[in-house]
Symmetry: D2
Subunit: 342 residues, 4 copies
Amino acid sequence: MAVRAAVAGASGYAGGELLRLLLAHPEVEIGALTGNSNAGQRLGALQPHLLPLAGRVLQETTPEVLDGHDVVFLALPHGQSAAVAERLGPDVLVIDMGADFRLTDAAAWEKFYGSPHAGTWPYGLPELPGARAALEGSKRVAVPGCYPTAVSLALYPAYTAGLARPEAVIVAASGTSGAGKAPKPHLLGSEVMGSMSPYGVGGGHRHTPEITQNLSAAAGDPVSVSFTPTLAPMPRGILATCTAAAQEGVTGESLRAAYDKAYADEPFVHLLPEGQWPATASVYGSNAVQVQVAYDAAAGRIIAISAIDNLTKGTAGGAVQSMNIALGLDESTGLTTIGVAP
Amino acid sequence: MAVRAAVAGASGYAGGELLRLLLAHPEVEIGALTGNSNAGQRLGALQPHLLPLAGRVLQETTPEVLDGHDVVFLALPHGQSAAVAERLGPDVLVIDMGADFRLTDAAAWEKFYGSPHAGTWPYGLPELPGARAALEGSKRVAVPGCYPTAVSLALYPAYTAGLARPEAVIVAASGTSGAGKAPKPHLLGSEVMGSMSPYGVGGGHRHTPEITQNLSAAAGDPVSVSFTPTLAPMPRGILATCTAAAQEGVTGESLRAAYDKAYADEPFVHLLPEGQWPATASVYGSNAVQVQVAYDAAAGRIIAISAIDNLTKGTAGGAVQSMNIALGLDESTGLTTIGVAP
Amino acid sequence: MAVRAAVAGASGYAGGELLRLLLAHPEVEIGALTGNSNAGQRLGALQPHLLPLAGRVLQETTPEVLDGHDVVFLALPHGQSAAVAERLGPDVLVIDMGADFRLTDAAAWEKFYGSPHAGTWPYGLPELPGARAALEGSKRVAVPGCYPTAVSLALYPAYTAGLARPEAVIVAASGTSGAGKAPKPHLLGSEVMGSMSPYGVGGGHRHTPEITQNLSAAAGDPVSVSFTPTLAPMPRGILATCTAAAQEGVTGESLRAAYDKAYADEPFVHLLPEGQWPATASVYGSNAVQVQVAYDAAAGRIIAISAIDNLTKGTAGGAVQSMNIALGLDESTGLTTIGVAP
Amino acid sequence: MAVRAAVAGASGYAGGELLRLLLAHPEVEIGALTGNSNAGQRLGALQPHLLPLAGRVLQETTPEVLDGHDVVFLALPHGQSAAVAERLGPDVLVIDMGADFRLTDAAAWEKFYGSPHAGTWPYGLPELPGARAALEGSKRVAVPGCYPTAVSLALYPAYTAGLARPEAVIVAASGTSGAGKAPKPHLLGSEVMGSMSPYGVGGGHRHTPEITQNLSAAAGDPVSVSFTPTLAPMPRGILATCTAAAQEGVTGESLRAAYDKAYADEPFVHLLPEGQWPATASVYGSNAVQVQVAYDAAAGRIIAISAIDNLTKGTAGGAVQSMNIALGLDESTGLTTIGVAP
C-alpha cells in the first residue's frame, strides 16, 4: 500500500529535489503539491526537469490541501512550519525541511532567527549516535541543514572517539542552489560564474549553532566552532574542509580506525581509501557522502573533509532517508549512492 | 533471471555512464569490466562516482574475458569493435557504442574514418520509423552518435510529414564530455570554462554523414546537411538548433500536428508546450529528449530544437533502451525521464 | 585637454564595462555617474571590480546632472534615450548604448519594440562600409546591439563581395551578461550553469531587424534572416555561427580573398589563419573580433564564425571606438585587442 | 629608452599572462620568447588571446637566446631556473616566477621539492615589511607563489600587530589555471566543472613552507600553519580564508586599525569597507588584492579573507610589480587595479 506524500513548497529547489526522489521511490505516491506565489501554475513551467509531473498544478499551502496524506514534507521559509504542522494531525508524519525544529537551545534559535523558538523534533541525520532510535516511529522529523550535514559527518567520529580538541575551524564551499531560487543580484549566473566569495563570515551564518550543537553532542562538551561558508561557481555540492586541534597521542592510524568504525555499516557514508579525497562531482545527485581524514603532524591538526550534494543528502535525500526510518521502510529505499558524473 | 552484461571500455565517459545506468537496471547483473591502458586498476579510482563498484578491478579487453555474458557493450575507440564482435558468438547481444556499424554507405564511412567499412547493424534510435522492428530480437545493435540522436529527433518529423525542404542547417552545442576523457590541452577546464568554440566546421565532423543518412531516410530523398558543432562550457548536454526551409503551405499548426503525432506515444521524447523551449539542464542525467518546433514565417524556415544529455540518451541511455527492446524487456526499464536539476 | 564623460546607467553591466574602459582611456576624465533605483549608492558596492571609483556615489539621471560634459553615454532601458538626448545640447556628443536609434525602418522598430520610432543616428560599427565617414564629427551615435555586431562582422564581407545568397541562417550563443543585471529566475547561476537554452526563437529576438538591416545593406538587396540566440553558461562572450547559401562559383579561395580584403586594415578584426577557429575565451575583455570563414562544398554553404566579448566590442568597446572616431582621436585609443585568458 | 624583456616559458599560463601584461607596459619591449616542447610554433596557435604577438615564433630556452636583454623572466618548471640564471650575467635582471629561490630554509626546500636548494633571492611581495627595500636595485627576484601571496596579504598585518597567535588555519580555493597547462585527466573541463575538491591535504602542498616562512617572519616567531588548498570550478582566482586564534584583548576595532595602517598606502591592496567581503570575480585579470578581516568573538578567532587573481597578482602581475621596483620605475606602471567583471 503506497505512502501518500504531500509537498508544501514544491516550486523551490528543495521541493523540486524532493519530488525528483519521490518519483523514484517505489513506496510513495505523490499527492498534493503546493506553492504560495506560484499556486495555480503548472509544475512543468516551474520544474521542467520533472517530466512525469509536468501537468500537475500547484495548489495553495493550506491545512485542507495538505490533509489526508500519510506524509507531509514542508519546504517552507523558516518560521512558517510550526503553524502548518500544528494544523496537521498527530498521526501524520510531518518532515520539516526548514530550520524551525532543529535547535535544542531556544536562546540560540532566537539569537540567529529573531523569532520565538517553535520546539525541537527528532533530528534527521541518522548517522549521528542515537539518531536512528529517535527517528523510528516518530511522527515529526527536523531535516538538518546542508552545511551541518556535511560538517557533522566529517568531524563527529573524531569527537566521539575523543581524538579532537573542542575547537573546530571549518571552511565550506557550497553550490549556488543552497541559496535558493528567489532571484537576487548576487546570485545571477553572471555574478557567480568564475567567482568564489564568502558570506556570513565571523560566525554569522545560521547553520553555526546547529553545527555547534552536533559537534558538542559528539564531544560531550561544548565545542567552539569557527565556520566560514563560501559560494562556489557550481549549481550543487558542498565541500566541507574541517579541522580541529588533535588531542595528545593522535596518529593517522587512530584517526582512520575511528572513522572506519563509525562508518563501516553506514549505507550512505563512504570513507575513501587512503590518499583519495572527496569531490563534489562524485556525489552529484546522490545521497552519498564521501569522507576522508588525515592527521597533519606538523600543524598538530586533524583534517576531515566531506563532500555531499547539498540538495540530496543535504536536504531532500536526508528527508527521504529519515522518512524511510520513521515509517519502518528499508533506510535506502528510493535513494542511490551513485553520482551523476562527469 | 538476470541478464549478465559485460562492458568493454569501462574507464571512459561512455562506459561510466553505462555502468551508472546498469546499476539501476533491475534485470541486469554487471559482469566483466575491461579497459586497456587502465586494466588492473580499481574502478573506484577511475570512476569515483560509482560507489557500488568501487572495489571492482578492470580486466583486459579480450574475447576470453568478454565471453559468457548475455550482453556485451563495446565502448571502444572507432575501428576496434568489429574485431572484438566477431570473436563473440552469434547468440550474444553485442551493442556497439562506437561508430563502426552506424553507416549504411561504405563510401561515406571510408571518407570520414579512413578505414574499411565493417558493416551495418540495426540502428539504436528506436524513435525513428521502422527502427524498433529492426531492433526486436536483434543480436547486434549500433548505438547512434550523440549529435545524430539530438538532430534526428529534432527534425525527422518535419521530413516524414513532408514539411521541410531537403536542405538543413544545424548548429549544435555540446558539453565537453562528448570529447572524451583522454586529456588534451584544449579540453582543460581552464580552456573550456567561459568559452564557446566551434570545431569540425564545414562538414568535417564525423557525425555529418550519420545525420545526413537519418534525415534522408525520413525525407525519402537526399537531404543536404550543413552541420556545425560547438563546444560549450558544461560537462554534459547537447542543444541542437536545427532549421530547414519550409515547403509551401507550412504553418505553425501543421508543424505542431506533425510533431504531436510523431511523439504522442514516445516514452522519452517530450514535445514541450508551445512557448516553452528546451534546456539541457532539464534532461541532465536522464534519457529524456525535449523538443520544440516553430515556423518562422518571415524567414520561411522551420526551427526545431532539441535538448538531450549526450552521455545518457545520446550514448549510454540509448544503448540501454535498445538493449531492452532487443531482449524483449519493457523499453523504459532502468531509465528515467527525470533530469537532475538545477 | 581631457574629454569629460558622463555615464547614465552606471550600475548595470553595460555601464560598468564602459567605466572599466574609460578608466583606461588616456584622454577621458570621468564625470557624472547616474543610476535610477541605485541613485545615492556607492559604486564600490555596485561595481566592486572598479576599485578606483569605489567611493563615487551615483546621482539621479537628470538633464541637470548630465549637462556640462563633452560626451554623455546612455546605458538606459530601451525607449528612454530619446527623452534624455533631446535635453542635451547639440554640441554634446551623445552615445546611445541602447536600441533606440539603431533602426532605419520605423515600422520594424514599432513591430519589435511596440513604441514610436525615435529616429536614426549614425551607426557605431565602424567596420561596416561607409560607417566611419558617418561617425566622424558626428554628435550622435547609436551603438549596435551585441548580436548584430558579431553577426555583421562575420557575414558582411561575403555579401559585399557578392558571394552569398540573400538568406542567412544564424545561431549565436551568448554569455549571460547580455541579459543584464536585473535578477530573474532563469538567469540565476543555479539555472544557467550546466545549461544551454534558446530564446526568442523564430525571429522574435529584437536584434533580428538590426541584423537584417546590416546584411541587406551589405548585399544591396533584402536578405532573409533566420536568427536563433542561445544562452550559454558563461558570463561573457558571443559565438556567432552564420551560414548562407553560396552563389555559383564560390570557392574557399574567393571567400578568403574577400575576407582578407575586408579586414586587412581593421585594427580590431582578426581573420584567423586557415584551420584555426574563433573562441570567445580569446577575446575576453578585449575589443577584438576573431573571424573565420569556410566553404562547405557538400552543403553549398558559406560558414562564417565570429567571436566577440558581448560587453566590450559588443557594447562598451564599440561605444568607445565610435567616440574616438567622432572626436577625431585615434580609433584604438584606450582599447585593447588582447584577451584575458585562460 | 625601452626595457627589453625576454620570457622563458612563453607557452604556459604564467608566461601568457606575463606577456599580456608586458604588452600593456609602456616601458617594455618584448624580446625573445622561448618554450621547450613548443619551440618552433607560432604564439598565435598557443596563446590565441595575444593577438599582437600572434606571428611570433617560440625559440628554444638557451642562454644564447636569452642573452642581451635587460630583463629575463623565467616561467619554468621548478628546479630549472638556477641553471639558466647562472648563465645570464650579473647585470641582467632575472625574475624567477618558479619556486627555486623563494625559501630561506634549505631543509624545507629539500623536504618539499626533493632536490638541492639553489639559494634565496629577494622576495617579490613588496607589501611585506622590508620587501621593497630588498627589491630596489636588485638583479634577482623570486616571485612568490600564488597561495602564499593571497595568504600572506590576508594575515600578515594581524601578526605584525601582535594580534594573532602563532597557529593559523587556512583553506584556499584556486581556479584551475593554477594547476598549469599540461593536460591531466583530473584537470579536464568535464571533471572540474561542477566540482570542488581538495588536494595536497595535511600539509603536503609545496606552498606550505613558503606560507609558514612569511607568517613566521611577520610574527617574529614560528607560526604553525594548517593549509588546505582546494580546486574550484573557475579558470582564475584565489579566495583564501585564513583564521588564527586571537591574542587576549583583540577587538574588531583593533584588527581593523592594524589592517588600515598596513594597507593605507598600498596601491594594490584594497581593504574593503566593513561588511563587504572579497570575491575573486572583482579582481579578475587585475593586480588588485581585496582583503577583509573580522573578529569572531564566539570562536575567539580572527578571520581574514583575501581574493586575488592567481595569474596576475599571484604570478605575472607580482613579477611586473617587482620588476618595476627593481628598475626604479613607478611600482604601478603597466598594472591595473580594475577587474574584468562580470
